[in-house]
Symmetry: C2
């Protein structure tokens, strides 16, 4: 069987609870080696936003957020914690939808998601929230370089988060940061609707890899990283911000 036609998705277990300033690359390298899946050239490493945020001091006390009048009013209407609403708004540049308890915003990175990616669950008690990393691409690059330092392996890194989406129920894992690869793969050669022109199909491979990683990571903190092995990914210096649609192009294609 050709190796090129088989992709393995390997969840990494046994990583300790990540603390501020922990070296995520080292934790990943150690966990992979321990379970007999030492990192290799051309692996893609998927890592959840959560542990990167923890290592980068993005786990914050709710009391650090002083609610605005707007946040207080909305929190009262919806029985939310006004400090948490303030944290969400402070991470946002724009409110896309605010109906009942649903608060969908555009983050400072440009991502559109519920609560600006601010996570109040499993972060060490009710008095903390976890914000997205400030620059997820830069975080991925640091992990990529750290893995190269520890193992000499040339890998790509994808940071994942779990987002809802319009039109289809259910959330999926998507890429919010990347390093060492391009977000898209183009397939040229399909005919256009008129049967004459060549069309390019652009596949967002990093979102598909992020989704595949969820199959082994789940939602608990027990498996916060995965190796995707055997996929001949498009190499290069890509950014997850390339995936974000500008408002003028808000519907595909």
């Amino acid at each position: 069987m050709s190796v090129n036609n088989e992709v393995h998705v390997i969840g990494l277990r046994g990583m300790p609870i990540v603390q501020p300033d922990d070296d995520i690359a080292e934790l990943i390298v150690t966990a992979a080696a321990k379970q007999g899946a030492s990192i290799q050239d051309r692996d893609v490493i998927a890592v959840t936003q959560r542990i990167v945020s923890r290592s980068e001091h993005q786990l914050r006390r709710l009391d650090d957020f002083e609610p605005s009048r707007f946040a207080i009013d909305y929190a009262n209407q919806t029985e939310k914690d006004p400090r948490l609403v303030e944290a969400v708004l402070s991470e946002s540049t724009r409110v896309i939808r605010q109906v009942g308890g649903v608060l969908i915003t555009e983050t400072r990175h440009g991502f559109r998601c519920a609560n600006a990616g601010v996570d109040g669950s499993n972060v060490g008690g009710e008095e903390f929230v976890c914000l997205l990393p400030i620059d997820p691409d830069a975080s991925c690059l640091r992990i990529r370089e750290g893995i190269a330092k520890h193992t000499r392996a040339d890998v790509a890194v994808i940071m994942t988060d779990t987002f809802g989406r319009p039109w289809r129920h259910g959330q999926t894992n998507v890429a919010i940061g990347i390093a060492g690869m391009l977000p898209f793969r183009d397939y040229v050669g399909e005919k256009d609707m008129d049967g004459r022109e060549l069309k390019v199909t652009t596949i967002c491979v990093v979102d598909q890899i992020a989704g595949a990683s969820e199959l082994v990571m789940g939602k608990s903190d027990g498996v916060p990283a995965a190796i995707i092995r055997g996929y001949d990914y498009p190499r290069g210096d890509g950014s997850a911000t390339e995936i974000v649609r500008e408002m003028e192009l808000d519907l595909f294609p």
Copy 2:
């Protein structure tokens, strides 16, 4: 290494070009055995819409579509083939967006995608188009039962197609039909924004599996099916139409 924590995605090569009335289940079983990856209990089989449509006589002559006045006018404005426009409209219940050459519609199944999933590429010349299967869940069920007949293996089946999406550039493979599994997996236990209530996170696992299968299938017809092995999927009688959001719930969550 625990098997439960490792998922294999295996592309199936060497399948013949599918003809009307071909037994897709048999072709998959044969191809898998030939490449030493015989189908097992609890495999998920991903299959592209294209070959199922071919087997179900959904490869149609363009001349079968008599363009309406509306189709002719739009085709003239955009230099499309009016018969192809008519094919798209005849597969649609609603036009969602029609700007320039972009025609996004809601299909009779409820899916929202470009050109109602009608495919004019690689279908044996310019005089043919490929429509989506009439009932993709039913097609998946037939394949699931066919595989059980040929191998006694109890598998789940997902039919995939490549859709664009709002908010994020690039297309991804999604599930348009399923059999033998549920589309969603619920994770209970996260705290709500107020830190008190329990929240349910619902992951659309079938879309993630569809995306993972694209990593080995690509866009050519050379690998029209894949095995996803090692994923403990939620079993049951699900339907891909459960994924479709009703208009009233058009934004998540």
